[in-house]
Symmetry: C2
Subunit: 556 residues, 2 copies
């Protein structure tokens, strides 16, 4: 391809207000162009990369026996009604009616569609397991669309759905997919962590995200130093270290406490450690149930863990009015005496501290020497604490905090959809109709592409991994090198090498800068100076050298 | 691929109420499954064919220098407002609002999007011409969705848009695309006719459909026997043969005529030929303009030709009330005396007949010896007649009537979009900003796939052309052939041959029938009977023979 003929050339303009390197470089390099917020054109250069990523994913998926197909973009809304997902889907679903009044959802995921097509066939256990997938546009009506391809409102996702005879069969498919995902991302130049994650309303332990470590990522997870345990902040389990458990019980006392309403105010007033204070956190769920979460003062409550423990879909902070209606005071809340008035939920860390202090349910009154089971009791006890750097995982390893870009996820669906949807069954060996056990496996192509750029660039531009580079060779002809360039271009094309030839009438400076920005692995320069030979430089290293054409073929 | 593992197997059920072979065979063969009316799943088998068709189109498009990219599915509605296409697009546009109130169109075509992305760049004449295309889902909210993939509400289309410096440059691109289309369809096993067609509101002579001749097609066109002229019924030009032009003028007379309101009633009453009668056809356009179309009695008015001549967007038949309001009578309409009351439009055929007869604008009154320019005059005169079998084309060839499936179309857009859309310009050599001259080139993948099946099947099933068959080899193992099958399967896979192995525990009859239905080019059978050898049969011929494995590699 001659660069002069390429649609979508480099631009010097930076993108206003975006702090993401991938957004800047992909835009400036002529890979993408914004249509409306969160919706992008892939220009020819960007589409080449996108399609190479798809190809690698397809190769690896097909190796596992998974089968590509496609579902319509418009999903009959009645299917989403069957599974009660119209309002509870976790992202904003877009819906539309056609000229005859039929309602459709713009697919954000396609569980219902795949169950629907599968139940059209009368399958038996002999047909199982199978794993069907598609590359298709997904719509997420996100309130915020982040810069570039990292969080968008429309993107191509590879979504796979496995249909299995039972949980055991599913687990084998799941393990194979986990391995396949690691392989896929590794081929794309991405080192990923397989992170235990929250499976939302589906539940169960088979749920992992594939995270590419990055400070700009929205993913938040913890990893043992030796990677023996990696888990999302919303599920990361860790040991609560014992504090003053050997202390003697002291008598419960309430005293005047003229202080502000923060935890720090309590520490300052009483001169006691933060961990000895009790932290109280009042929330309300979707059924207007008041929930008091109680935790050791040096930990924070993780709201997802809390929601799971109390089996709520949505939690919000209680208002000052709601707290006052209980006759108690924000900043001075205590579990003591609230039994029966709210649901009291405590973290296991409460058992690692004795003679705790905190509010006494009245303004400027604090309690000293509060002890669990003696002064207050819990309605529910469990893991509701957010991990933090340095806490010890259950396997004894200290945890490190990480941020990452989530490029893929795999999770069990179990019987969730096949129980809700009529006739989503196969005939088992015993002649009985049984629901399919399902799994789901996703990869966002655009975000993966952006993650590659976040990980593979320098101050000059992108450094594409070879397998997904838009071209293998970037040929630059300078003054006096035009005829040689023509010959090299022809030879490379004859050998099937993907070559981008910058044949423009531009300065060496402009051509070199564009070449570095675009990030093709091999740069070739021919000019009067290089004579019969060719200057070869790899994008990833600084040095260049003069070579014969044959040497180039060995590199590709 | 083992057939036992394939998702989407054959079914014996026929599709209720569909008379289309492609609909029946693709459904029964396990290639497609209906989601909602006019929206289909492509099952793994069907998707393989779909993707092979795409690959061939891509190869041929890329050879011409065209560049693949992609636009978002949701088009900002403001772009469609810029070109006034929201209501006048020719198909039902689907629109949607997001959570923030932004309005989008679900793309039916993508002219606005491609102009929009192009105008984001500051292009010069040096960047031209270029041709950018995408494979993307198109939405057409058709009132009727025909059987199977022939007319659907959602389909993947390859749509290309050329941006050219001027009309001359466009013409070269257009001719190259025309040639490319013929090559593409030929590789797909489709003989196509390049049919002159109506370019709607854009106008101009550069507009062609690629039609696959088929009695079930909705396309209607005429072709000279030697194919020197092929044109859609809406544009087909032909000579009007002279009738009684040498007759003497006779005096205009009105007489009582107690007859029915049809043309045949007139022939019967007067004992004169149909061609001597005048046919009157009253229509109303979108501005409520009354238009009387007048034509020789043995021709019919083509409403598209009529609309073009009177420069109307939409025509509808006048109601009886509207005709009565003129003080005249349906079934007895005449142009005589209507001058100034309606727009009188006549076909050139009126000049091939003298002393015509017809209604006299009153019930049961007819006129005799009506002559153009003497008894009535036209406001507009031109070609508004529908061709019919046997008429003579302008090049002297008789025309044959054809029906076809339209699989592709190419047409000029000229300056239509770039004049309506702001800043859709490039900087020309003279330093001035000029609008791009555009062309558009479409192929519907699903309909093309269905057309292949309509042309390549027998009573047992599909007969896929080799290049787009879902698999190259269909291996059948019968009793005693299991071990040999395993070996053949392995050898074929090692050589990269796409092989579908029917490894099920089914009868020979079932396996042969499924094989014929699916239509893979080469059938191999191994059984106790075939011993060390393999029975080879091509899907396209009846005979089978025993061969060694090596012989098979020569065939592929």
């Amino acid at each position: 391809m001659k660069y002069s003929r390429l649609f979508g050339k480099t631009t010097r303009d930076t993108v206003d207000g975006s702090k993401f390197v991938s957004h800047q470089l992909l835009t400036r390099g002529g890979f993408i162009a914004e249509s409306s917020a969160g919706r992008y054109f892939f220009l020819p250069l960007g589409w080449r990369v996108h399609e190479k990523i798809k190809k690698i994913i397809k190769q690896e998926m097909d190796k596992t026996g998974a089968q590509e197909m496609i579902s319509p973009v418009l999903h009959p809304l009645e299917l989403w009604k069957e599974t009660n997902r119209i309002t509870s889907v976790g992202f904003e679903l877009m819906t539309i009616k056609d000229g005859r009044g039929a309602a459709f959802a713009l697919g954000g995921t396609a569980e219902e569609m795949f169950v629907d097509v599968v139940r059209k066939f009368r399958l038996s256990y002999k047909d199982l397991p199978f794993n069907i997938y598609q590359f298709s546009t997904k719509f997420r009506d996100e309130m915020r669309s982040r810069g570039g391809l990292l969080r968008v409102r429309e993107f191509v996702m590879k979504d796979a759905y496995s249909f299995d005879r039972n949980a055991d069969e599913f687990k084998r498919v799941y393990q194979a997919m986990a391995q396949t995902y690691t392989t896929i991302f590794s081929r794309l130049g991405l080192e990923t962590s397989k992170v235990e994650a929250d499976n939302g309303y589906i539940g169960g332990e088979y749920c992992h995200e594939f995270q590419v470590e990055s400070d700009i990522g929205e993913g938040h997870y913890f990893t043992a130093e030796d990677k023996s345990y990696i888990a999302h902040a919303d599920v990361a389990r860790f040991k609560r270290d014992d504090k003053n458990v050997h202390e003697e019980f002291k008598p419960y006392t309430e005293i005047d406490a003229v202080r502000g309403s923060t935890m720090e105010d309590g520490v300052k007033l009483h001169g006691l450690p933060m961990w000895q204070q009790i932290k109280d956190f009042m929330v309300v769920d979707e059924t207007n149930r008041l929930i008091l979460a109680v935790i050791r003062g040096d930990y924070d409550v993780n709201e997802i863990k809390l929601a799971r423990l109390v089996e709520a879909h949505h939690l919000r902070h209680a208002t000052v009015e709601e707290i006052h209606m209980l006759g108690i005071e924000p900043g001075f809340i205590s579990p003591v005496g609230l039994k029966g008035k709210v649901l009291i939920v405590g973290d296991t860390s409460l058992r690692t501290v004795k003679n705790a202090y905190g509010g006494a349910n009245a303004k400027h009154r604090d309690a000293l020497n509060m002890n669990i089971d003696r002064d207050y009791t819990l309605d529910l006890e469990g893991d509701i604490a957010m991990a933090k750097p340095g806490v010890i995982a259950e396997n004894g390893q200290p945890l490190v905090e990480k941020h990452g870009i989530e490029v893929g996820n795999i999770f069990q669906l179990g019987y969730h959809y096949t129980n809700l949807m009529k006739d989503a069954t196969f005939i088992d060996e015993d002649g009985k109709a049984k629901p399919f056990y399902m799994g789901c496996y996703g990869i966002g192509i655009g975000r993966t592409l952006a993650a590659v750029v976040e990980k593979h660039h320098d101050e000059k531009g992108i450094i594409w991994p070879k397998e997904i580079a838009p071209f293998q060779v970037h040929l630059i002809s300078l003054t006096g090198g035009e005829i040689k360039a023509q010959e090299v271009y022809r030879l490379l094309q004859e050998k099937g090498v993907e070559v981008l030839w910058d044949d423009r009438d531009e300065s060496a400076g402009v051509k070199f800068a564009d070449c570095d920005l675009i990030g093709v692995p091999i740069r070739l320069v021919v000019s009067k100076k290089t004579g019969d030979r060719i200057e070869l430089k790899l994008r990833s290293i600084k040095e260049s050298r003069l070579v014969e054409i044959d040497e180039i073929f060995h590199l590709i």
